[in-house]
């Protein structure tokens, strides 16, 4: 080797120097996890029904001792809503982060690529046509159709990405065009719908935790926890991609294949989430940006950070949706950005100050 002892010493301290970044980021991740936990607990504590935190805790410790209406509120409304907020937020955050990386575009997200809009179209179709299937309960048909359309949008994007050898940008552009086309179709359905159905479509499009049940939570949770290890298998490849597409290619990474598999997985993850709760646009776009501001782009930290940021935003939004108008729960999709924008803005400004 051509290093002098001094250089070797400097070299050793290089990894030690970098270890500071790692420690700092672990700390941030733990802090985000704690904040998310606090938000979750607070989410369970709040709601139109007059339950004191003491009563909630007592009820959780001893469900049998609760009067049945209170037990119902706690276990069929408060807990599932709060759990769904965390799971959907994490799914959308993770999906958005991976999309932004493989498409090399900060505007990529399940919402901007048309996955969320397609879910609304699927739901609207069921509502307008009054479709019913004997083998599928009506309650499951709506999310199933929403998921199916979202998955079709994901596949369409996948197919396009396949034909465009180096066309990450054209995929994003196509996604935006797809959003316009789908929104037109939804508007057409709304125009054809009667007043009652119109209201239902509009409400669905606002995104709501009001449809959360334990079986749905189990599905969203399972998909998320299957997706997480699959995402983590690619952390170094995704990080290398952020250091340049040509560079990644020269390292022997099959960038086209990576983009295809990641896009398909992320789109399906998002499709499941929006299939159950409706259109929630903001989290998948801004969650990753918050993670990037706090943690950088090393995907060992960026991916879990995006999931946690998404979960935190949606948890906070869930709390806000119950507090803005007392006694009423506002659809989640409406408040997400109201809660998220100040958070995002304050981080941006703080970063600017530090720089």
């Amino acid at each position: 080797m051509i290093h002098s002892p001094q250089m070797a010493a400097a070299g050793r301290s290089l990894s030690q120097g970098y270890a500071r970044f790692v420690r700092y980021r672990f700390l941030i991740l733990i802090l985000m996890l704690v904040l998310m936990g606090v938000a979750f607990v607070f989410d369970v504590f709040t709601g139109p029904a007059d339950l004191s935190p003491g009563a909630v805790i007592a009820g959780l410790l001893d469900p049998a001792g609760l009067p049945s209406p209170v037990r119902y509120i706690l276990f069929n409304v408060r807990l599932p809503y709060a759990a769904m907020a965390v799971l959907v937020g994490a799914s959308l955050g993770l999906a958005g982060a991976e999309m932004q990386t493989v498409l090399n575009n900060p505007l990529a997200s399940p919402f901007t690529l048309g996955v969320s809009a397609a879910a609304t179209l699927g739901a609207a179709l069921v509502l307008v046509t009054g479709l019913s299937l004997t083998w599928l309960p009506q309650e499951a048909l709506l999310p199933a159709s929403a998921f199916l359309f979202a998955a079709m949008a994901a596949l369409l994007i996948h197919l396009l990405a396949k034909t465009q050898a180096n066309g990450a940008d054209s995929v994003v552009l196509f996604g935006i065009a797809l959003v316009f086309a789908i929104n037109s179709l939804v508007a057409l359905l709304q125009f054809m719908a009667d007043a009652d159905t119109l209201q239902q479509i509009v409400f669905w499009g606002m995104g709501s935790l009001g449809r959360s049940t334990w079986p749905k939570i189990a599905i969203v949770g399972t998909i998320l926890f299957v997706a997480i290890p699959l995402s983590f298998r690619n952390v170094w490849k995704l990080t290398a991609l952020r250091a340049g597409e040509a560079q990644a290619e020269s390292l022997g990474i099959d960038t086209k294949r990576l983009r295809l598999t990641v896009m398909l997985r992320a789109s399906l993850l998002a499709a499941v989430a929006v299939g159950f709760v409706g259109t929630i646009g903001f989290v998948g776009l801004v969650g990753p940006h918050i993670a990037r501001l706090l943690l950088g782009e090393d995907h060992r930290f960026f991916l879990p950070g995006s999931a946690l940021a998404g979960a935190l935003i949606l948890s906070l939004a869930s709390i806000a949706s119950k507090m803005i108008i007392p006694g009423m729960i506002i659809p989640l999709g409406i408040v997400t950005s109201i809660v998220g924008v100040p958070l995002f803005l304050s981080l941006l400004i703080a970063k600017e100050h530090r720089a």
Partner: protein, 257 residues
């Protein structure tokens, strides 16, 4: 060890080959080959074809090993290719960019990877950049980090597409010296696409001049560089003078009509 031998290599687009039937006799182990030629002459395409990127036909053998017969993973380990484009100004820490290059396609334990990354920064003399974010670095500094991404894997064949394009005089020499150091140490071979003829003359063992996808001249620097070759390749009238130390240098007089 026979070094690098290229025979009948064609590459480029399906309808319009950029490199046509190019052969290059042995480039010996441990040597530095400078690749000269005007814009769009096929330098990048040639380097990419040797690296196994893009469509190509023909043979490339490194120390009697036909590269096409190797599986993808083995090939990637043997060849380090530096693309012409600079690494983007991302929020990645330079250390992470090099670590990712080290670990993206190979399963390495953390300590081994750390050692390799540290050595890459030290060898190139850019320790001071390792803990900076890429979006805080200048173009030339990012180019150095890009080079560290190649060097960190200790490849047997380095293909560097204009590694000095964004660098000032001192760093141009530092890059070439660092590459030279690696070649001495590992008997690797390096091909450097380069625009600065005088830098190439001073630092390379051999020069290859290509024009419109075929080889115009190949050999030791003094034999290759002549007014005729420069005129043919670049379309300029040039003189080859000698400095007080006897080293040839090229003076360009005017562009030929």
């Amino acid at each position: 060890m026979t070094g690098l031998v290229i025979s009948n290599l064609s590459a480029g687009y399906k309808r319009r080959p950029v490199i046509a039937d190019l052969s290059l006799s042995s480039v010996p182990p441990g040597s530095l080959l400078g690749l000269l030629g005007p814009n769009a002459s096929g330098k990048s395409t040639l380097l990419r074809a040797i690296a196994g990127l893009g469509d190509s036909s023909g043979h490339v053998a490194l120390n009697d090993l036909e590269l096409k017969t190797l599986d993808h993973k083995k090939r990637v380990e043997m060849i380090g290719y530096l693309p012409q484009s600079l690494p983007p100004a991302s929020p990645l820490v330079a250390y992470e960019a090099v670590m990712a290059a080290c670990r993206a396609v190979r399963a390495l334990d953390t300590r081994t990877a750390e050692k390799a990354v540290e050595a890459a920064f030290v060898d190139l003399g850019i320790n001071h950049l390792a803990l900076e974010r890429m979006n805080r670095l200048s173009g030339g500094q990012r180019q150095m980090v890009g080079l560290a991404q190649v060097v960190v894997r200790k490849p047997g064949l380095l293909l560097l597409d204009e590694p000095t394009s964004a660098l000032d005089l001192k760093w141009q020499l530092r890059v070439i010296n660092a590459v030279r150091g690696i070649l001495r140490e590992t008997s690797a071979i390096a091909i450097i696409a380069i625009h600065d003829i005088n830098l190439a003359i001073r630092t390379c063992d051999q020069l290859a001049v290509i024009s419109e996808g075929s080889l115009l001249a190949l050999g030791p620097t003094e034999t290759v560089i002549s007014p005729q070759v420069i005129s043919h390749a670049y379309g300029v009238k040039a003189r080859v003078e000698h400095c007080s130390e006897g080293i040839p240098f090229v003076l360009v007089d005017y562009a030929e009509p």
